[in-house]
């Protein structure tokens, strides 16, 4: 009962802050609502007994990625951004693709089966799940894990190459 109340609190705040993130005129306010969103997603992970995921959610998304967003957004001219046009002439295309993706997500959720009701605690691991996660990632799924890290490395090198000053400049 208590779990369900907490779950619905998280769910409502997640939805509200997600909507506010994309409707705010000021990009900094958008980032702030996104921070709220990440916090509540971490809260849902805690509710599911996935403390490790909650911590990683905060460290990676809130602590690293969103901070970089904030940096970029602050370097923009906020006054100009907040009065800029929200859409250009391609907006019907964008709306169409958005609707398509939304339909797909809704279809997937409708067809999926969930092992338990919302707000229940399905995972009852002995520890924090770190050991199990480590064994899965570094033994069973070692190759996909390494491939993912190589893809990240390629992205990193690519960013450095793009930002590098050429000798002729």
């Amino acid at each position: 009962m208590v779990n369900q109340v907490i779950f619905f609190y998280f769910a409502v705040v997640i939805l509200a802050s997600a909507i506010l993130t994309i409707t705010q005129k000021n990009p900094i306010h958008s980032v702030m609502f996104m921070l709220l969103l990440f916090f509540h997603i971490a809260g849902v992970f805690v509710l599911l007994n996935a403390e490790f995921l909650a911590a990683v959610q905060l460290i990676v998304y809130a602590g690293a990625i969103l901070i970089l967003y904030l940096f970029v957004v602050m370097l923009l001219n906020v006054d100009r951004e907040s009065t800029a046009a929200r859409a250009n002439r391609f907006w019907p295309w964008m709306a169409g693709f958005g609707a398509l993706i939304a339909a797909e997500v809704i279809l997937l959720i409708a067809r999926g089966t969930f092992p338990s009701e919302a707000g229940q605690q399905p995972m009852r691991l002995a520890g924090s799940g770190v050991k199990e996660l480590g064994e899965l990632l570094y033994q069973k799924y070692l190759v996909p894990f390494e491939v993912a890290s190589i893809i990240l490395l390629v992205g990193l090198v690519g960013a450095v190459m793009l930002a590098k000053k050429r000798a002729s400049d």
Binding site: M32, F52, L58, I59, A62, G63, I67, M74, S128
Partner: protein, 361 residues
Amino acid sequence: MLDMNQLLHYVFTLGIPVAVLLAFILANAVYLQLMERKVLAHMQGRLGPMRTGWHGLLQPIADSVKFLMKEDIIPAKADKWVFSLAPFILLVMAFGSMVIIPYGPPTDFFGLLPKKVPLWVSNLNVGILFVLAFSSVGTYGVIMAGWASNNKYSLMGGFRSAAQMISYEIPMAFSIITVVLMSGSLNLSDIVNAQTDRWFVVALPVGPVAFFLYLMSGIAETNRVPFDLPEAESELVAGYFTEYSGIRFGMFYMAEYMNMIVVSLLASIMFLGGWLPVQILPHTLGHIAPIAFINKLLAAIPPTIWLLGKLYFFIFFYMWLRATLPRYRYDQLMSISWKILLPLSLGTLLVAAGMKQMGWL
């Protein structure tokens, strides 16, 4: 519904720890300010605050009342919401970290209580990760304060602070991972218990290096001398909190001291054996009678006192640094982190992982 026993259980495991922790936090938040002023004054051959109470003991109370009574000014061009929220984010994140930290093993206070109660509010299995997460989210408070003030000095201070906190988080995380490797756990109580035989600060060869890395990046994370560029008063007035006044300014001060406490507590827990007592070479010299007697005496001091002693040693160290060292230049600050601390921390981690694999650690 809850029955009486369950209610009592919650009171003992949740209500009392939270109340005690809150009292501890608030007492520290006001009195560390006095300690800092006194330590600095005596190091500079002055007396510090002397007039309010005996040797200025009531000064923090007078200061707090002043903070509360002052007008809370929000600049006209400031972003009001973000401006008002920023100090709360910093403070809440610092409080959050303190909730996870264990302050001693479960105790019954020398038989005063019918059963042993934990000296922590929450003993998370991944506690150390949460402390890292909270400290990285605390950065938002600084950036928000800097940006929302609509003042170029504040913005510069906020940017500097954010860049600094992001840069020094990396060597800090690597030194913490080294400790996690050595102890084999992410739980702070388990990390302390893993140090029963030897503290990690003397676990050669990686222990001292990781300790040095953690201490350096911890000082930088809390924006203290010699890494206090975000509030460099000769360049930036007061950095990101230039425009703040009254109680919100006081909250920034509180958050700074809270963060110092968190970093010091973690340093004590991860490297100096947490609440374990100092023992003089128990394995080699422990059988000699006078040394064995001293060791027994040291072990008789309650664990929490040991932890607090280590904590205040680090706090004193912070103040000592402030009285001694000049400030780094900004480019030096960045190159120290990226060119010295980061490679060193990666190397430490590699050596530690190799030693763990060989079973030497």
